[in-house]
Amino acid sequence: MRPVERFPLFARILHWLMAAMILTMLFVGIAMVATVEPAYHRLVDLHRPLGICILLLAVVRLVNRWLIRVPPLPDTLPPALRVAARLSHVVLYALMIGLPLVGWGMLSAGAYPVAMWPGFALPPILPHDPALFAMLRHLHTWLALALFGVVLIHLAAALLHGLLLRDGVLPSMTGGRTG
């Protein structure tokens, strides 16, 4: 067996940092729309800047991906699964960038201040338009649920590689050794 080729350290750090942030965001999002207690306000105040942070990191990560050599998938993997793996990564990137942009855009269209921290708000990226706000607000929910779904499939695939196939895919991202 060939030695495992790993993602460079910076790519791995970004992957795990963002995985933690995105999972936090998904749960923060669901928790905040489920409460009318004061926690609502505190969670939304966390949700906006954390979401924008994910947007910035996702752009850095995409650029980094073009610059590094991405470890190839094992030759043993059937072509259909290769395509699926590639496609799922494209969808993950699209959502990591699209979902926060929709969040920013919907608040702009609703004429809400896109507040980051006390005294600082981002400029609007869309004109004030209530119907557009309503559409984007629903889109934000659907895209978030889609991200949830794709992350679960991604996690299942990673565990399939790591626990059943025992190929080099999981260690390429964890930095560990093959079992």
């Binding site: 926690a39 609502y40 004429a111 309503a134 629903h138």
Partner: protein, 217 residues
């Protein structure tokens, strides 16, 4: 009237009209008031309050508190009121039509601007900030912080107030929420309402632009 969102929900359920009598069921309301004496006390204060003849000469009190923070970072709890320059007059009985309060206001604005003073009341030690049902003692320090001048009315039809929501926690720098749970509940509920109504077809306005241009006639 109530302390928090859960109590408000219970209050709405208790005051829901009975489908047969079309009036609230007194036994349900009585049960609520027995469990919530604070609401009974607040309703009594509301009833004892002198009504005025219209919108133009009424005082608008924020029962909920906010925190003001000065340049040195000192936080102070406040409540505020919009106090009219117009002298209060007692109600003159119901006017003409369903929307007479609106038409009176439009008529008053056609005669000249209306002004209110933003009067900020500073909390004393121990004044409750997280319970809007309890008034603060009289004699607290008050600051006249500014004047609101209304020069004309506008219909919601195509007006600038329709496509936004009055989220009470969108506050300028230096103001923040207190431990009062009602503004946070309103913030959450308004976001949901704003989403739902923004996605609906536009319906006719009760007070139209034409009614406003005719000066409330």
């Amino acid at each position: 009237m109530v302390r928090n969102a859960a109590d408000f929900n219970a209050f709405l359920l208790a005051s829901r009209p009975d489908p047969r009598t079309h009036r609230p069921d007194p036994s349900r309301m009585g049960g609520f008031l027995a469990r919530h004496p604070e609401t009974g006390r607040a309703l009594a204060l509301l009833k004892a309050r002198a009504l005025t003849s219209g919108f133009a000469n009424d005082t608008y009190n924020s029962l909920d508190s906010l925190i003001f923070v000065n340049a040195e970072g000192t936080a102070t709890a406040v409540r505020w009121a919009m106090v009219p320059e117009e002298a209060a007059r007692p109600p003159e009985g119901p006017g003409v039509g369903r929307d007479y309060l609106f038409h009176d206001l439009i008529g008053a604005l056609a005669r000249g601007p209306l002004r209110w003073h933003l009067v900020v009341t500073v909390a004393g030690p121990g004044d409750p900030t997280g319970d809007a049902t309890v008034p603060w003692p009289a004699g607290r320090r008050q600051v006249d912080a500014g004047t609101l001048t209304l020069v004309r009315a506008e219909s919601e039809e195509g007006g600038p107030c329709t496509g936004i929501t009055y989220d009470p926690l969108i506050l300028p720098e230096g103001m923040g929420p207190s431990d009062d749970p009602i503004p946070a509940a309103r913030s959450a509920v308004y976001a949901r309402s704003f989403t739902l109504r923004s996605g609906e077809a536009v319906t006719a306005s009760a007070v139209t632009g034409t009614a406003i241009r005719s000066g409330g006639q």
